[in-house]
Point group: C2
Chain length 175, copies 2
Amino acid sequence: MTQFTKRTPDGDTHERAVCDQCGYVAYENPKVVVGSVVVHEGKVLLCRRAIEPRRGYWTIPAGYLELHETVEEGGARLKLDGILAVFSISRIGQVQVIFRARFDGAADFAPGVESLDVRLFDWADIPWDELAFPSVHWSLHAWRSAGDGLLGAPAGNPPADRRGLSPETPVKASI
Amino acid sequence: MTQFTKRTPDGDTHERAVCDQCGYVAYENPKVVVGSVVVHEGKVLLCRRAIEPRRGYWTIPAGYLELHETVEEGGARLKLDGILAVFSISRIGQVQVIFRARFDGAADFAPGVESLDVRLFDWADIPWDELAFPSVHWSLHAWRSAGDGLLGAPAGNPPADRRGLSPETPVKASI
């Protein structure tokens, strides 16, 4: 079993997990999640999660960006309008880049292995109490604010909503 | 010495580096760089790099986001106007979030350990041939396009400029 000890390597400013045996430094950086608010005829696409965490709850299509992918490739098979929001979920080391998107071609969709169900919802029918994460709320509200026209500057974390932030995050980290 | 073998773990879709001895999976994801075009009285702040790569060349202030930081904290000690651009440098697994920023207080600055020099430049005096990275060019041009007023949707990679992209990236990855 590899044993890691937390220490600050020479010339570094942060503690890292360093292997006791070989000195390998396991840098841990935030991961990028790319998601999309997919809009079709005024409705929005939501997926019911088939996997933990939050199995059974609804989310927008999203996933971790893989190494050597661009953020646009992370939103592949959709027609991306532009960036709607950039959220930091610093508690769990995530940066989320949320696009506004449409189907690239017909509105053909079916649940993949990570979804129990996929549906288009009118705003009034969105299952608000069964959304998987705060950032799903934020994304949907960012879309509602931006509308379907030209996109302005992307939304950030709502200043008053500290869910997802590290305890160390200053109260007013908003831009 | 830890020995890693490239293989696809069960239930995964990508090859990962897996330790031969203990099965530790070294996930490698893109890293987030947070940078700022810092504007003061119509001039822009550039830093001459004291470190490799591109020692001696000019760049905007930028750095890797640390785990449990928000993107706004990554741009700390500046007053952030908003997000000017999101670039993907997929060849080296980076996503860059570039803010437009001002000094938070007086325009007090001096080179840190990673810089040989720090200066404010008029647009006409920017050392274009001595900029460290393509994304410094892109950031400065994104600022020039956006001006100093309200920020619109952030810029992405210039569609015709493939520097920094993975060879696998489709030619038209722009949004």
